[in-house]
């Protein structure tokens, strides 16, 4: 199979976005505008959390201490690893290597799914202990921030699945390439947001 991939790759040569017909580079600024707007909204939520924390530092620290840091760390490792696989998928797609593109997208999806499983375990544990959005202001922010992030995560998983599916039916270095690149950028945003959310919610109260 690898031989087939390398033959296919050699035949096409290594292609750049600029010389991939139909893969309009203009889609990238579009997705970057969307990502920037999205992270700015999250930025406002971060400020809201920190301002609210000023009024109730002890309560926020006590609540934060009940979160499972190891689960949060594991989730960070999951997202950065899944992110690496997406980089490799984009790299393979740019070279026109369809099989490798699909394999890396699948790997990214499977590893990424671990984040969802962990998050559901975490939510389940909190709810089983009677902790909800209504418990206190810390948990209101906890559920809103991680919940909205979780929705972004789910959307990203759908995007990865759709790209994997489409990559078996279309040339990965044709018009689909722009979508693979944009989907990859979106997935990195999910990673990027978690990189800030995790220490702010889980680690800031470290005493």
């Amino acid at each position: 199979m690898n031989d087939l991939v390398s033959i296919e790759s050699a035949a096409r040569g290594s292609r750049d976005v600029a010389d991939v017909p139909g893969a309009s580079p203009s889609r990238v600024p579009g997705i970057l505008t969307f990502i920037l707007a999205d992270v700015l909204v999250f930025g406002l939520l971060f400020v809201g959390f920190m301002v609210e924390r000023l009024e109730q530092v002890a309560l926020f620290n006590r609540s934060s201490a009940t979160l499972d840091v190891r689960l949060g760390l594991l989730n960070t490792l999951i997202l950065v690893t899944s992110g690496l696989f997406v980089v490799l998928a984009v790299h393979a797609a740019r070279a026109g290597r369809a099989v490798a593109t699909r394999n890396w997208l699948l790997a990214s999806f499977i590893v990424g799914a671990g984040f969802g499983v962990n998050k559901l375990i975490e939510y389940g544990d909190k709810l089983a202990h009677g902790v909800s959005m209504l418990t206190n202001d810390f948990f209101m922010f906890y559920f809103v921030l991680t919940g909205v992030h979780f929705l972004h995560f789910l959307a990203g998983m759908v995007v990865l699945a759709v790209l994997w599916f489409k990559a078996s039916r279309e040339a990965v270095d044709g018009p689909l390439f722009g979508w693979i690149e944009s989907g990859g950028l979106y997935w990195h945003m999910v990673d990027l947001l978690w990189i800030v959310i995790f220490p702010m919610l889980y680690l800031l109260g470290a005493q």
Binding site: D16, V17, A18, V28, P29, L32, L36, V39, L40, G43, F46, V47, M50, V51, R53, L54, Q56, V57, A58, L59, F60, N61, V69, R70, L73, T76, L77, V80, T81, G83, L84, V86, V87, L88, H91, R94, L185, H188, D191, L192, I195, V196, F198, P199, M200, L203, L204, G205, A206, Q207
Partner: protein, 92 residues
């Protein structure tokens, strides 16, 4: 446009893993950074975010305005969070 090579992406991933493990270690061994643990952890987070932006999202090779906008975002997040954390004190 220069794209990030797979080897470079793996090196960036190794940095991200090492930085994540370091953050966890700093929190579990609180005596190392003492009351600066939270600030140290947020600094590490900003560096991780920057690595994702520049190398995974390839903003290093993107038009300067995009890179500046996103780098500004990650550093502003870290600075504002640390500043408001410092203003709040330990709460004890």
């Amino acid at each position: 446009m220069n794209h990030v090579s797979p080897a470079m992406a793996v090196r960036v991933w190794m940095f991200l893993v090492a930085a994540t493990v370091t953050s966890g270690w700093l929190v579990e061994h609180h005596s190392v950074a003492g009351r600066w643990t939270a600030a140290a952890v947020m600094l590490v987070a900003a560096l991780k975010g920057r690595a994702v932006l520049l190398y995974f999202m390839e903003l290093k090779g993107a038009p300067r305005a995009w890179r500046v906008a996103f780098e500004l975002w990650i550093w502003l997040c870290a600075v504002v969070i640390v500043a408001l954390w410092a203003v709040g004190g330990s709460g004890t």
